[in-house]
C-alpha cells in the first residue's frame, strides 16, 4: 500500500482553515448514534475523550490505571509551548513551527507541525478557562520561561508540575462528561487487541485487570492515545506501567510503525545508583535556564571528587569545563536535548564522569544563586557584599522556582542541591517514533486513529522541551475532533456494531491463547528478568550512539531473548484474578518484538539525525567537526514499517518529506 499523507493543498498557513471549511460534518442528532473508543487517558486521550463527548458522540474510555488522572502525562514537569508572544520577544506561529521542525532535525511533516503551532495558542486559552492555575506575574498576567533549542520565552508553566495541572484539567473535562453519562469510563482495563471488520477498526478486546475477564467492546472508530514505548529500555523516566502493547497490537493488525529508532534520551536525569533500580527520575529541562553543566578539566580533580577528597563546590572556576558553553556559545546550556545528552556522554566516555560509576556530570546552581541573591539584595536595599545574605536570598528565589524538583532530588540522592551541584546523566525519556498517521491522524487501518506520543508525526527525530504537552492537547482538543468527524460522517446509517462477529471471535481467541500460553508456561525466570536483559541490550547497543556492528548484534540477541522468553518465562497465579505478573508478561512480549524492529530501523538509517546518532555519520572537519551528520539526499523520509509476521520481515514504506516552507540545512547551535 502506498502511503498517502493526505496533506491539504494550498499555502501552509491556510491548509488547516481550508481543510476545516471543507470536511464533512455529522449533525448533532446523528452523533448520538455513533460510538467512539478512546484508549489511554493522558493529555491526548483524555482531552480527545472529553471533547468528543462534548460534541455528542458516545465515548468509551479505557485506562490501565485505577483512575484516568494517573496517566503518565501527570509527571511532565517543565511546561507547555504556545505561540502567544505574550513577552513581545518576536514569537509567532511561524517561529514556533520553524523551531519545532529545526529542533526535530528536519524529519517531521511540515503541514502537521504548522497546524500544531497554529492551534497552540488556543490550548492556553482553553486550559485557563478550565481553571488550570498557570504561573502568573505580579500584574496578574501569565508568566513564561525559556526552554532548550529556542531563543524566545514561550513556555507556560505551573511550577514544576505543568503536566499534572494540564492533565487534571483534561480529567476535569472528562469528569463532567462521565457525570453526564457521555463517557463510559473503564478503569483498570488493558487493551489487548484491535478488531478490524471489513477493513475498518470496529472495536477492541480488553482484559479487566481486577477480575481477569476478557471483554469485547465495539465502536465506529477507535482512537489510541497510549503514549510512548521508552520502557523497552527497562530503565526510563516512564511510569512502570507505560507500555507499547496497544500500539503494537494495532501494528500487528495493519497499522504501520514509523521511525521506531527516534528516541529521546533526556540530558538531565538522576544517575543510576545500582542494580535494584526500577526507574529513572527526570530533573526538568527548565533547570537548564539557571543551572550550568560542567565536569572538571583535569583528571586529577575528577578522581579527587570521586573519592570525596575534594568537594565539587571547592573546585576553582578555571579548573572547570563548562563544556556546553564551550562547544555551543550561542545556545550554551540551552542546546536541544539530543545535543546536550551526547555532549554529556562524550565527556563521560572520555573519563570525566564525576560519580563512582563514571556516568554523571554536574548541574550547578551556584552562579544562579549568586545572581538572584544580588538582585534581591539590591531590590531590598540590603548589603550586596554580604556573602551569606546573598546566598540565602538567592536560595529563596531558586526554591520558589524549582522547589519541588530540588526536594525530589534530595529524597532520592540524599544530597542537598542548594549547597552542592546536582549530579545528572542522560536517560530514556520520550519516543518521537510511533504509529504512522496521515494529516487526519488516521493510521493505515481505516477508522483507527493515533494521537499524542503514540503517533510519530510532529517531533521528527528530536522533540523540543515543552512540546509534548502541546502536541497531546492539540491532537485531543483541537485536531482529532474535526478529522474524525469527516470519517464518521459516512457511518451515520451503520447502526450499532455487533460484537458477535467472527472478527471479534478471532481477536478474542487470539488474546486468550496468548494469556493461556503465558500462564501455563511455568518456566524458570520472572518477567523482569527478561525485561532487564532486553533493557541492557537496548541501552548498550541501540542507545545514545549506534553502529552497524552493535545494531546487528542487538537484532540477533533480541531474537534469541524472545525465543528464550517464550520458552522459559514464569508467570505465577491464574488468569481470572488480579495478576500483575501476567499483565507485565504481555507487555514485555510486545517489547521483545518492538525492540528488534527498533534496532532494524536504526540499522537501516545510515545517517545521524536528532536522537538517532550513528557513529559512522559524523562531520569530519570544519566548524561542525564531531557533530551529527544528516543525509538529506538519501534519508529525508519517514520510515513506516509494515508488519509481516516477524519483526525481521517487516517491509519498509517511505513517506518522502517535502520542505517547502523551511530551508533544509544543518542544525547549528554554535
Amino acid at each position: 500500500m502506498a502511503l498517502d499523507s493526505k496533506i491539504p493543498k494550498g499555502p501552509i498557513a491556510d491548509k488547516w482553515t481550508n481543510y476545516k471549511n471543507h470536511i464533512n460534518l455529522v449533525n448533532p442528532a446523528n452523533k448520538r448514534n455513533i460510538d467512539v473508543i478512546v484508549v489511554g487517558t493522558g493529555l491526548a486521550g483524555g482531552s480527545a475523550a472529553a471533547t468528543l463527548a462534548e460534541l455528542g458522540y458516545n465515548v468509551k474510555a479505557f485506562c490501565f490505571q485505577d483512575s484516568p488522572r494517573r496517566a503518565h502525562s501527570i509527571a511532565a514537569q517543565g511546561g507547555i509551548n504556545a505561540a502567544k508572544n505574550y513577552q513581545g520577544d518576536g514569537d509567532s506561529t511561524y517561529r514556533l513551527f520553524y523551531d519545532t521542525v529545526k529542533g526535530g532535525d528536519y524529519r517531521s511533516r511540515e503541514a502537521n507541525v504548522y497546524r500544531l503551532a497554529e492551534v497552540s495558542a488556543n490550548i492556553i486559552d482553553q486550559c485557563v478557562a478550565q481553571g488550570v492555575p498557570f504561573a502568573r506575574e505580579y500584574g496578574g498576567l501569565l508568566d513564561n520561561r525559556s526552554f532548550g533549542g529556542v531563543l524566545v520565552s514561550r513556555t507556560f508553566y505551573a511550577a514544576g508540575q505543568t503536566g499534572q495541572q494540564l492533565l487534571l484539567g483534561a480529567y476535569s473535562a472528562m469528569n463532567r462528561q462521565i457525570g453526564r453519562g457521555k463517557i463510559k469510563m473503564y478503569n483498570r482495563h488493558e487493551m489487548l487487541d484491535v478488531v478490524v471488520v471489513n477493513g475498518k477498526a470496529r472495536g477492541i478486546i480488553t482484559r479487566n485487570l481486577i477480575t481477569g475477564e476478557i471483554e469485547r467492546h465495539s465502536a465506529h472508530a477507535v482512537v489510541l492515545g497510549t503514549g510512548g514505548y521508552g520502557n523497552v529500555f527497562f530503565l526510563s523516566t516512564n511510569a512502570m506501567g507505560s507500555n507499547v502493547t496497544a500500539a503494537w497490537k494495532a501494528h500487528k493488525r495493519g497499522a504501520y510503525f514509523a521511525n521506531p529508532c527516534y528516541t529521546q534520551i533526556h540530558p538531565t536525569c538522576i544517575p543510576v545508583s545500582g542494580d535494584h533500580q526500577s526507574k529513572l527520575t527526570l530533573m526538568s529541562e527548565s533547570l537548564r535556564n539557571d543551572g550550568r553543566i560542567w565536569v572538571p578539566k583535569h583528571m586529577k580533580d575528577v578522581e579527587a571528587i570521586r573519592n570525596r577528597t575534594l568537594m565539587p563546590k571547592d573546585l576553582k572556576e578555571e579548573d572547570r569545563d563548562y563544556y556546553l558553553e564551550r562547544r555551543y556559545p550561542a545556545f550554551g546550556n540551552l542546546v536541544p536535548r539530543d545535543v546536550a545528552s551526547r555532549a554529556a556522554k562524550e565527556r563521560c566516555d572520555a573519563g570525566f564522569g564525576v560519580n563512582a560509576t563514571g556516568e554523571a556530570v554536574f548541574l550547578d546552581f551556584a552562579s544562579a544563586i549568586q545572581r538572584y541573591g544580588k538582585e534581591q539584595a539590591t531590590v531590598r536595599h540590603l548589603d550586596v557584599n554580604d556573602a551569606d545574605l546573598v546566598k540565602k536570598l538567592g536560595q529563596e528565589v531558586v526554591k520558589n522556582k524549582y522547589g519541588n524538583l530540588f526536594q525530589m532530588y534530595e529524597k532520592i540522592v540524599d544530597q542537598d542541591p542548594y549547597n552542592t551541584p546536582m549530579m545528572i546523566y542522560p536517560a530514556v525519556h520520550y519516543t518521537m517514533g510511533g504509529i504512522w498517521v496521515d494529516y487526519n491522524l488516521m493510521t493505515t487501518v481505516p477508522g483507527l486513529y493515533c494521537i499524542g506520543e503514540a503517533n510519530f508525526s510532529d517531533h521528527g527525530a528530536n522533540r523540543l522541551g515543552a512540546s509534548a504537552l502541546m502536541q497531546g492537547l492539540a491532537d485531543g482538543y483541537f485536531v482529532l475532533p474535526y478529522t474524525i468527524g469527516d470519517y464518521l460522517a459516512d457511518d451515520i446509517r451503520t447502526g450499532k456494531i455487533p460484537t458477535d462477529s467472527k472478527e471479534f471471535d478471532e481477536a478474542e481467541k487470539n488474546v486468550r491463547d496468548q494469556i493461556n500460553h503465558l500462564i501455563n508456561n511455568k518456566g524458570t525466570h520472572s518477567v523482569d528478568h527478561f525485561h532487564k536483559k532486553l533493557g541492557k541490550i537496548m541501552w548498550n547497543k541501540v542507545g545514545m550512539a549506534r553502529n552497524v556492528q552493535g545494531l546487528t548484534e542487538a537484532i540477533q540477541e533480541i531474537k534469541e531473548l524472545r525465543a528464550e522468553f517464550w520458552k522459559d518465562v514464569k508467570v505465577p497465579g491464574t488468569n481470572d484474578e488480579y495478576n500483575d505478573e501476567l499483565a507485565k508478561a504481555g507487555r514485555v512480549a510486545d517489547y521483545l518484538e518492538l525492540g528488534e524492529l527498533f534496532a532494524k530501523d536504526a540499522l537501516h538509517r545510515e545517517e545521524s539525525c536528532g536522537g538517532h546518532f550513528r557513529e559512522d555519520a559524523v562531520e569530519l572537519d570544519g566548524e561542525q567537526k564531531g557533530e551529527a551528520k544528516r543525509d538529506d539526499e538519501h534519508f529525508a523520509y519517514v520510515a513506516a514499517w509494515e508488519y509481516k509476521g516477524e519483526p525481521s520481515d517487516a517491509v519498509l514504506h517511505k513517506e518522502e518529506l517535502e520542505f517547502k516552507d523551511i530551508e533544509l540545512k544543518q542544525r547549528s547551535y554554535k
Binding site: D66, P68, R69, R70, Q126, P133, A158, K411, Y477
Partner: protein
Amino acid sequence: MNLTLKIWRQKNANDKGGLVDYKVSDVSPDMSFLEMLDVLNEDLINKDEEPVAFDHDCREGICGMCSLYINGEAHGPDRGITTCQLHMRMFKDGDTIYIEPFRAAAFPVIKDLIVDRTSMDRIQHAGGFISVNTSGNTIDANAIPINKHDADTAFDSATCIGCGACVASCKNSSAMLFVSAKVSQFALLPQGKIEATDRVLNMVKQMDEEGFGNCTNTGACEVECPKGISLENIARMNREYLKASLKG
C-alpha cells in the same frame, strides 16, 4: 540491612485477610521502599509463591497510585512524600515493618495492598470541573488577569494527587481534605465562581453518599498529606458550603 516485613495478604475483596511475615536481606539504603518490595516479589516468584500485589506507577511521587500504610502511617515515616519516594535509609538493620493497605469503608480492598479508590473519582464527577466546552473560541487567556497570590494559592490546592492518604490517616475516614482541595482551587479563581454554589453542594453530597466520615478537625490528614495540602482548604470549603446552603 536485613528486615522483617509483616504484610497484609488478602486474596480478594471477600477474603478475610491477615498479616504474613517475610524476611528480606541485603537491602541497600539507596533503594526505594517499592524497590525493596520488588526484590521480595522476585524472591517469592522464584520460590513459586505468589507475589505481593500493590499499586504503583510513576514512582516519582506525582501519579498518586501508590498507597501503602507503613508502620501505622500513610506513605510511611517520612514527611511530604509518597510511598514510592520513601527510601530504605529511613529504616535500620533488624527493623520490623508493618505494611497494610489504605483502610476506609469507601476504599474496599481489591487484593493484598490494593484498594478501590473510585469513590474519589465519583466525587469529582459530581462537580470537580468548570463547565466550559472545547471550542478554540474561549476568550484570550490574558483577558482574565488573576492576582498572583490567589493564583499561587489555587495552584497549591490543585497539587493534590488524589492518593487518599488523608482518608487513610483520618480516624473518621473523612475525605474533606481531598474534596476541599478541588473546591478551593475553583473558589479562588474567577473562572470557578459561576458554578460555585452547585459545585460545593454536589461534591459534598456525593462524598457523604460514598460513606466517607465527617471531619472533626484532628488535622491528621494535613500531617500525612504527601503534597502538603493545608487545612485552610477545609475551612474555605466550610465557608463555601455555608454560603451555598444559605443561597440554595
